[in-house]
């Protein structure tokens, strides 16, 4: 479903991704781990189409279509979703309005009616243990780290993607929130592919990865199964570099 071939990416002439290749099929969970600054967020942002990054060579295809032919919003409408490491705040735009507009933008003709939408929204919010007072607040404005992450997952559930890119969605969450977020992820993975960027084994206790990739210096240097994450947790990254 997603195929990345030898991807090189630069920002302001500095190369950040230096030849990344990756394939994600429907139903697969791929964890990407690596130190800060190794290029994990860059990878997720480039897949989604952030304008700051320049693809200098290589190719990304989603369901067979080269992504360079698709605008960001078209990628979203085609079923891609990015849960941001640092979601932007949009002052003055209420969460409720934003969610409704986003659902109708992404799901188009298949968007739920107003009534169905409210029902869906309520059930997801209940599952994520979010109070309905969230809906009247402005998008991410003054949100705590944990609140932002819950809102990202709520959006993921509502937008129902076929490819979910989750960038450190577990960071800053307490144990209960982590469980709730993991349940959210598990609820979509049977029908979606998932790229899970994380530093911690604890999320992977709840969301079982099919593959674990280690990124160092803009390259995937090692790929293994779930046990690789356990080893990384115990031993760090030095042994890979050595």
């Amino acid at each position: 479903m997603l195929s990345i071939e030898n991807l090189h990416v630069s920002v302001d002439d500095t190369e950040i991704l230096r030849g990344v290749s990756l394939r994600i099929n429907l139903g697969e969970v791929h964890a990407v781990m690596g130190r800060n600054g190794s290029g994990k967020s860059t990878l997720a942002n480039v897949i989604m189409g952030h304008p700051a990054y320049e693809i200098t060579s290589g190719d990304i295809k989603f369901k067979g279509t080269p992504l360079k032919e698709m605008e960001v919003f078209e990628r979203a409408r085609a079923g891609m979703f990015l849960s941001f490491q640092y979601p932007s705040s949009i002052p003055g735009v209420q969460v409720g309005t934003f969610l409704r507009k986003s659902v109708s933008a992404v799901r188009g003709d298949e968007a739920p009616t107003a009534r169905e939408f409210r029902k869906e929204l309520k059930s997801h919010m209940d599952a994520l243990e979010m109070d309905k007072s969230f809906l009247a607040r402005y998008v991410n404005d003054g949100f705590s780290g944990g609140e932002k992450k819950r809102l990202e997952i709520l959006q993921m559930l509502l937008l129902n993607p076929t490819l979910a890119l989750l960038d450190e969605t577990d960071s800053g969450l307490d144990i209960d929130a982590l469980r709730v977020v993991a349940e959210g992820i598990n609820s979509i993975t049977p029908r979606a592919g998932c790229l899970l960027i994380t530093h911690y084994q604890r999320l992977l206790d709840h969301v079982k990865p099919d593959y674990v990739h280690v990124m160092i210096d803009g390259k995937i240097v090692k790929t293994g199964g779930a046990d690789l994450a356990v080893k990384l947790e115990a031993q760090g990254y030095d042994w890979i570099e050595a």
Partner: protein
């Protein structure tokens, strides 16, 4: 996607249509004492009003153009090319069916009769120089609320008008208030009796149709002790290649404990000079609120003012300005704290796009005897591209040290990250920009009646789009 958010095209101005001009009386272009006298005579005004007009005319001729604001644009105004009076209908009707068809069609297209049925307590619709339609709900009339177009107000209640006319904004206040006082026509006259609360807003709609038209409405609102009213005004004009001039004067008087809210959504086409003087006097424990939105026009210079004359009076000025290509919005607020324990809040938000310019010009005065005052001023500017301009000219005159004053100002840009975030949720770049802009104006829009808020949001979304078919 390009990270460059600048767009060349401005959204279509959807109110730019015009009707054939079927004037019943149209004055020759240009201004003279005779023109002023003719207007007064035509309206059968009392002698004292004619005298006020003539005196104001001479003040207008003597006074120089303001030396601030946008002098280049101001000096382009050709006062000799303006039509100062144009009557397009024989009378002011109480029934839309009696309004001439083409004029009625215009107001239908603007949605006025529909809004009136749904949520308004009264409506006055002005077309060129005079009101063509006017009505007030019976229950308000029964409670003694007076709501007239200004010409009828003068006829029916000359003593009230005489007492308050020019009492808040003297003719010689500035060149344009002098001009308005000389040639005024139309506008609203409202008196709310003691203790009466007008629950539904009353609305005035101003439409310019003719080319090179000058519209000079004059509004006077008096809220007697303990009463309240919400007045809403909207305005549009056709798009012509030559300029029109809109120069209104609005005077508000809020007696002890009264409350007046005056909301404006100004959406003139981009060939209209909008040079308006708005000022209110708030007596003890009274509140005056200006909710002022400036979206259209070529040049707007408007600084709604409140004189806090009585102890405990309160002023609220919430304004937004949108300056697109070729537009300059020079707007702001003035609050004069003349009495102890008076309070004021000023919130000003502006957006500049496609080389547009928005300026905040504010004046906050606290006199020596106004002890224990509180005031908070917030100015936020949002720039949508690098060609646009935003500036602030705040002035403070503080005459005693007991005042508690706060001032915050910010200038921000729409970040690529915000746009990317919204676009990753399926919104096109224009839609994303529209959401950000609407969000930025939200503290203003939430103060408007819902119908106006929806319309304003839609308008701004259109502005963010390229060309609309």
């Amino acid at each position: 996607m390009s990270g460059d958010i600048a767009r060349d095209a401005v959204g279509d101005y959807r109110y730019g249509f015009h009707d054939p001009e079927n004037a019943t009386i149209r004055f020759d272009k240009g201004l003279s004492e005779q023109v002023v006298r003719d207007i007064s005579e035509l309206k059968n005004e009392p002698e004292w009003m004619t005298e006020i007009r003539v005196k104001a005319y001479h003040r207008f001729m003597e006074m120089p153009m303001p030396s601030w604001g946008n002098c280049d644009m101001l000096n382009q105004i050709d006062f000799d090319a303006v039509t100062y009076f144009l009557r397009s209908s024989e009378g002011t009707e109480k029934d839309w069916d009696d309004v001439p068809d083409d004029i009625k069609n215009t107001f239908d297209r603007l949605g006025i009769p529909e809004a009136e049925q749904k949520w308004l307590g009264g409506v006055t619709a002005q077309y060129e120089s005079e009101a063509v339609y006017h009505s007030i709900r019976e229950d308000l009339e029964e409670q003694g609320v007076l709501f007239f177009d200004m010409d009828s107000g003068l006829k029916e209640h000359p003593d009230i008008v005489k007492k308050y006319f020019c009492s808040v904004v003297p003719a010689s206040d500035n060149k344009f208030s002098a001009l308005n006082t000389a040639v005024w026509s139309g506008g609203s006259f409202i008196y709310v009796p003691k203790g009466v609360h007008v629950e539904m807003p009353v609305q005035a709609y101003f439409r310019i149709n003719a080319k090179n038209m000058g519209q000079f409405e004059r509004t006077l609102i008096i809220a007697d002790e303990g009463s309240s009213i919400h007045y809403v005004e909207g305005c549009t004009a056709p798009t012509y290649s030559t300029e029109s001039l809109h120069s209104a004067v609005v005077e508000l008087i809020a007696m002890e404990g009264a409350k007046i809210r005056y909301s404006t959504v100004q959406n003139w086409s981009a060939n209209v000079y909008n040079l308006v003087t708005k000022r209110g006097i708030a007596h003890s424990n009274a509140t005056i609120e200006w909710v002022d939105g400036n979206i259209g026009s070529k040049l707007t210079m408007k600084y709604p003012a409140v004189i806090l004359k009585g102890e405990g009076a309160h002023a609220e000025v919430i304004s937004v300005a949108y300056a697109g290509k070729g537009q300059h919005q020079d707007a702001g607020a003035k609050v004069h704290h003349l009495a102890p324990n008076t309070t004021s809040n000023i919130l000003s938000k502006s957006i500049s796009k496609n080389g547009g310019r928005s300026s905040y010009r504010g004046m906050l005065q606290v006199t020596p005897k106004a002890k224990g005052c509180r005031s908070k001023v917030i100015c936020d500017a949002l720039m949508l591209d690098a060609d646009s301009q935003s500036d602030t000219y705040p002035t403070m005159e503080v005459g005693n040290s007991s005042a508690d004053l706060e001032h915050e100002a910010s200038v921000s840009k729409v970040s690529n990250d915000q746009l990317f975030y919204l676009m990753s949720r399926g919104h096109s770049e224009e839609e994303a920009m529209g959401m950000i802009v609407n969000g930025f104006f939200e503290p203003f829009t939430r103060e408007l009646p819902m119908e106006y808020a929806v319309e304003l949001n839609r308008l701004l979304e259109l502005e963010m789009e390229g060309a609309i078919g």
